[in-house]
Amino acid sequence: MPESQTPSLVKSPRVAIIGNPNVGKSTIFNQLTGLSQKIGNYPGVTVDKKVGRMNYQGSSYEIIDLPGTYSLYPNSEDEIIAHRVLNQVSEEDKPEFVLMIIDSCQLSRGLFLATQLLDLGLNLALVLNMADIAAKKNITIKSFEIFKALGVPILSTDARGEKGLDQIRELIHQQNFSKKSTFLNIEEIAPTELLSEVKDKFGLSNFYQAYQMLRFGDKDKTYSVEDRKWLKTKLSESKFDLEAAQLEETKIRYRKINEIVEKTVVKTSEVSPKASIDKILLHPVFGYLIFGAILLLIFQAIFAWASVPMDMIDGFFAELSGWVSDQLPEGPLSSLITDGIIPGIGGIVIFIPQIAMLFGFLAILEDTGYMSRVVFLMDRWMRPFGLHGKSIVPLVSGVACAIPGVMAARNIGNWKEKIITIMVTPLMSCSARLPVYIILIGLVVPDEFIFGIFNLQAVALLGLYLLGVFGVFFTALLLKYILKSEEKSFLMVELPTYRAPRWLDVLMTMFNKSKTFVFEAGKVILAISVVLWVLASYGPPDRMDAIRAESEERLAQASPDDIPVIANETSSLLLENSFIGIMGRAIEPVIKPLGYDWKIGIALITSFAAREVFVSTIATIYSIGTDTEDELTIREKLDQQINPDTGEKVYNTATAFSLMVFYAFAMQCMSTLAIVYRETNGWKWPLIQTVYMTVLAYCSALLVYQILS
């Protein structure tokens, strides 16, 4: 490009990377940009916008990684983004150059998209990736023939994206992209007058852009209502059949590509097909057993490895709170920081180990090619419930934590299937429910064996997990009949060749997903924690002051042994009289039929922050003190609670089971709420979800209590 063009000197040139799914696009992007990449969101949709910087020989380039797609005709949100950026719809994302990655073994499919890009009039260069794999399959590509036919620069690289990478950098640096004349004459398919009208109206540069505008302009909500209406009227006036045109375009394009491919691809000898490992991995019986075993292994690893950093984070933030509170003068500000903000941030950070590890494993499964096999195996079982084969990933992630599960749902292309998946994933029994289950089961289920082998407590725990699974499928079925969508569900996935995971890509996924969670969901979580802190630490001033004054008085007269007891009793009284305490009392009539008293009501409200908070709240209410590590103490204390009206135990079997069922179903996790908000782009679905889960929890707990009591 001539240097006289000042804009390119002021702003670094922008290069978009595009390609079919599974062609190693992200590997090349990661290698070019490394840690400089930023993940944002495209407006109006939940698609990651991956942008990075490549620095080469003193110049800087902006690289955009577009979602994989087979054509310019989008089937999902992901593909709409690729379509929109490449059509240069928004000035902000407009790339100067396009680097198209093609799988050398899939030349014709790659060229299909590449020639569409040519027709759009983009500055293009092609990368024939996985040249080494093609060589193994005895496929030779005469790339000069492609160059002759298309007139754009061509490079080749190997699957790991190491060989040929410098050439890619050099190509970008030299700005060696070219804009060749069109490949397919769109006037063969669409009426010229219509095309030129659209072209003039929107100031487009060629007829193929005009054709794309006709096809998608009225569906893209980033255009003004008038423009969309104008397009619609034009279309109906001209009686131009877009779908027939698209089929026609596909046929002609592939025919022309075939002519090129026949000249360029030489397959010397057929490689004798090796016995595929898929014979076992996709086996109707062993396939499922192996999938189950892999899941078990992953969860084992997550529970074993994530708990160490989680405990460290927990400890660190507790220390930090303590340290800050020693530094600051006592008062509301100190309390806000040490009891509100620091634990709030801690509550966000504590999820990172689980999210990072889960996404690490998912990235490995994805990268090796196993994930699409899982989709293949599970689709039949998910479909009757309105879910997709891809829903299995969020659902199994939900056993560890709903947050990465909900985040993983964005891979599902179909809107309805994605919403159902997001709605049901938090019903899987996540690891945060475990502490609540363990305390309550320990309280009411005897530690005995039935039939000499099954531990009753273990059976009860298993039952709660199965209850979660039941809740998932029941809710999915319900939503399947309620939600309406005209979008057609389809599977059509490639089962790529197995290969070793690329660790850089895996690490980048772990890093990026954790970062997204912390910075996007973190805001909402922090805000809710501060609100909960205010409600728990403040109450009607006269009552709070009276409690504090009395406590001072007692402390002044107390013997050293009594001081911790009085301190615990004071914090219990303060919580009871705080706004949350008042709310807990207020909801007592509502929760009484479930077998709960107002003290449990307080715990229900505070555990909206996170389910495990139940344990610490209960500890405060019953003046156990801050040492909640000791489950036995809590359990004994709970066992001693007597209902003043009936003289019976508060935590009898019926109440405990009712509580467990409530915790199984209720949306008591603000982090999940925050991530659902982010993934669905608004408050509508998180609110519906919260209301639904609360109602489900209430009704189920009511049923359980009424039957058992």
Binding site: R109, K137, I139, L377, R380, F490, L491, M492, V493, L495
Partner: protein, 75 residues
């Protein structure tokens, strides 16, 4: 005789004759299911689950209903 791709026996090669009209026709064609191409059935998930076909160098999984849109002739 033309049959649909969901009924072809395992590992028997079949040549695609036509793709039936359906909203999914274009998706199938974009993936490379085009008249004249040869496909072989490699794997089937149990109970009428998805089917995996080899098409040129790739394995593509389709639902049974999607495979039934592909009209083929056994070779």
């Amino acid at each position: 005789m033309t049959i649909t791709a969901d009924t072809i026996p395992h590992t028997r090669a079949a040549i695609i004759r036509e793709i039936s009209d359906s909203p999914l026709k274009i998706n199938l064609m974009e993936l490379g299911f085009l008249p004249g191409k040869i496909i072989t059935l490699h794997h089937t998930a149990p109970l009428g689950g998805p089917m995996a076909f080899k098409l040129e160098e790739t394995i593509l999984a389709l639902r049974k209903s999607e495979a039934s849109l592909i009209e083929v002739q056994l070779l």
